[in-house]
Amino acid sequence: MALKNQRGSFFRTHILVFLLPAALIYTLFMIVPLIDTVRYSFYGETAEGITSFVGWDNYILILTDERWWTDFSNALENNFIFFVIHMFVQNPIGLLLAALLSLPRLKMANSYRTLIFMPTMLSVVIIGFIWKLILSPLWGVGDTLVGFVGMTDGLPALLGEESTALITLSFISVWQFVGIPMMLTYAALLNVPDDLVDAAIVDGANQWTAFWRIKLPLILPTIAMVSVLTFVANFNAFDLIYAVKGALAGPNFETDIMGTMFYRTFFGYQLQPGSATLGATVASLMFLVILCGVMLYLFVVQRRLQRYQL
């Protein structure tokens, strides 16, 4: 470095100084724990609390042992359903709302925006509690509401039936978080210059075609980003399921996702003792799943996206 000229050396130090705080904090609180978690997944614990290196044993146990694999594949499958519902319900609705909000002559757009974004800011525990009350087959308002549309038997126990619990929880989560894709796509839509839309309208397009042909292609990179954020957030999800169904994610593990499975394994539950090393293995597998998904996105989708200079 001393061999370089004065100017270049000064320039480099200056970059380093600016990068240092972020790099330091990120390394300390994200990268080190991540690497340590992965390292820990290669260790085993005996009943006396002694840890020793066991190689791939934990992974082999989870992926080949009949019961562990049943649990794990069930959690993975449920998580996938959870994600698909978000991807194909939450994000399109978010996009639709954003498109409506950015219509030029919409009145009270700001109020709508705030109201729709409101649930996102509420605590998951509150959301879980409110929806549990609404859907309660005993005292919930749901019975009366479905009565209006002619369902006299009342609402089935949506959160209690094996066939509906996961889907119901996914929709609660969609309801809560629809504000995020809406905000992100809304911001992107605002960036689309009015001239372009105006020019299209002058050329004979209506709002509908202007949206599909002009706005949508321009905000596609944002939608891709929203999708990948949805993916990461869903495969890390835990709180709503825990708040509504507890760590045993009933009925019969129908609402168990990776996050709740990790919690049970790592911290234990009721009389079940936790295992830090097996928990680390589940966490590493979660990381791997997310990594694969993000890589797929980066190499298959991101590269083909066309960006336009506006």
């Binding site: 126990a157 039936e161 019969n252 079940q272």
Partner: protein, 423 residues
């Protein structure tokens, strides 16, 4: 730079000092006994009833009850005991948490303590080493399972208290036919209700209490044996008699349904009594879990819940032993059980409790054989955990998504996968 370091150092020291002086010094007086507990609710009862009663006969020993929040109790206790700042008497959680404390040398043996002869083997089992040779906490309280029923509803429908399972099912059917009341208030949403109020409540009658529980531990009985499958079969019969939407009904929902007078029968733990005393405006009673037809002996789940042990590092071991012996007496047991209806002293003394329902529960100790929940000792140490599996399978059979045989097989396979005597 140097100067800066110095100031930093001093201020750190000052903060540390301040923090140290703020920390409550637990054993301030050498002659004061401090009781550690997670039962923050009981502070008043200890201060106004139990400790004054003790001081009547032992005016020279000062006692202070110092509870800490229940959720942090285990971690808190471990830290305090390791650091040597814990009180003289330690309230013991049942089974493994306290066993760990004993194995780490934090609790003393209490086998030779005068008063220990007042406790049965079942009562002591929660605070013993696996081989049963050493006891390290004095059994203090248990909770009993049974059924609480709405007396007015029973009178209205002309129902008798069911003694056998066929009578029980007939009563449920009659309540259902009448339609005024929900036959039984229980939900499967929280899962533990199905296992604790269902499986562990009626089960001991099928598996002969302690005989079955010990049989599972030493491997002579399996969960796929007929007596366990029958428990699941019986639970499966409950489904149609639970309220509409019971699959989404949580524990507080079940309590409310009963205390609002909408349900006739409530599968209970004795701790529910005080809730119902406060909320229900009708008269309610209790009956023990009905026995299978033709069976004479009845068994109840008299589950050990709270114990009291001596901190091995205490400076007042003698005084602590005196207190513990007094806690084993009939007098202490009676004060404790009356102050907390639904929690029962575990000594063999005859208990008289003024609350009629609480008295009804404890009277079964004389008529039936006592046992504890079968998944709590040793059998829940591994993964998959038997207790969790019982929750899952009990819900499964009640909801009708599993047959009794499937449920039994699932629980057994899980246990056998890690527990040697079952392999």
């Amino acid at each position: 730079m140097k100067k800066n370091n110095l100031t930093l150092g001093t201020s750190v020291a000052a903060i540390a000092l301040a923090a140290a002086s703020l920390t409550p010094t637990v054993s301030a007086f050498a002659d004061e006994l401090v009781i550690e507990s997670w039962r923050t609710d009981d502070l008043d009862i200890w201060e106004s009833q139990i400790i004054p009663a003790f001081n009547k006969s032992h005016p020279d020993i000062k006692v202070r009850f110092a509870p800490s929040p229940p959720t942090e109790y285990n971690a808190n206790m471990n830290a305090k005991l390791t650091a040597g700042t814990a009180g003289d008497l330690i309230t013991c959680k049942p089974f493994d948490a306290s066993l760990d404390l004993y194995n780490n040398g934090h609790l003393t043996k209490v086998d030779d303590l005068p008063g220990m002869e007042n406790f049965s083997g079942v009562a002591k089992s929660a605070w013993q080493t696996d081989d049963g040779s050493t006891t390290f906490c004095l059994p203090m309280a248990s909770v009993i399972h049974g059924f609480i029923y709405n007396k007015e509803a029973f009178k209205e429908l002309g129902l008798e208290i069911p003694k056998t399972i066929p009578e029980f099912m007939a009563a449920l059917e009659k309540i259902k036919e009448d339609g005024t009341y929900i036959p039984m208030s229980m939900g499967t949403a929280d899962q533990w209700e199905a296992a604790t109020m269902g499986f562990q409540n009626v089960g001991p009658n099928f598996w002969a209490g302690e005989k079955g529980r010990k049989g599972l531990i030493d491997g002579t009985e399996k969960l796929t044996d007929p007596q366990y499958v029958k428990v699941y079969k019986h639970l499966a019969e409950w489904g149609p008699y639970l309220g509409k939407g019971y699959k989404g009904q949580s524990y507080p929902d079940s309590q409310n349904l009963f205390s609002l007078g909408r349900a006739a029968i409530y599968p209970a733990g004795s701790w529910d009594i005080s809730t119902f005393n406060g909320q229900a405006d009708f008269e309610f009673g209790a009956f023990p879990p009905p026995v299978p037809a033709g069976q004479d002996t009845c068994y109840i789940s008299d589950h050990t819940d709270i114990g009291l042990g001596i901190n091995a590092a205490s400076k007042n071991v003698k005084a602590a032993e005196t207190f513990l012996s007094w806690m084993a007496s009939a007098e202490a047991g009676s004060i404790f059980s009356n102050a907390l209806p639904g929690f029962y002293a575990l000594s063999k003394h005859e208990l008289t409790i003024s609350d009629p329902v609480a008295q009804e529960f404890v009277s079964w100790r004389g008529k039936c054989e006592s046992s504890i929940r079968n998944s709590y000792q040793i059998l829940s140490r591994g993964t998959p955990n038997l207790e969790n599996d019982l929750w899952n399978t009990s819900v499964g059979v009640i909801n009708g998504s599993m047959t009794a045989e499937e449920a039994a097989k699932k629980a057994q396979d899980g246990l056998a996968s890690w527990y040697k005597p079952q392999q």
